[in-house]
Symmetry: C2
Subunit: 84 residues, 2 copies
């Protein structure tokens, strides 16, 4: 069965996130008040063929550990939805 | 009330996505078979103060239209969750 996997990779809390700070500053300049704690990272979408949703998530986490994310400085979250 | 907003910004379907192709190729090289349709974009997390979840989402979409995304070449999706 085929699954659509959505991966979000963001800098770990407490680490320097200059891109997030730049976006936060730019939003304030554009008069978006009441916005804070901005963090910018990567989004990866991919299709995986797996026997179950849990297996698809397991594959996706292995991809994050080996290639997509840098586990020293980034956290990731995986969401799986069936597509066929 | 405060809401945590998760924004995903990805290249529109049909547009060239060289970064997605590079990741797809790298995953194949790492023996992750059964993976396809890989797209790479941006993830933005931010806190918004708003009166309702719908208003927080509306603010986030306005931020995407004005700053975070390029609507000509990117699509975005907004997820909102209450945090306090």
């Amino acid at each position: 069965m085929k699954y659509r996997v959505h991966v979000r990779i963001l800098p770990r809390p407490g680490l320097l996130d200059p891109q997030g700070q730049a976006v936060e500053h730019a939003l304030a300049t554009l008069a978006f008040a009441n916005v804070g704690n901005v963090h910018v990272g990567k989004a990866v979408d991919l299709d995986v063929v797996a026997t179950s949703e849990a297996e698809a998530a397991k594959h996706a986490r292995a991809m994050c550990d080996k290639l997509l994310a840098n586990p020293v400085i980034e956290d990731y979250a995986v969401q799986v939805e069936p597509i066929s």
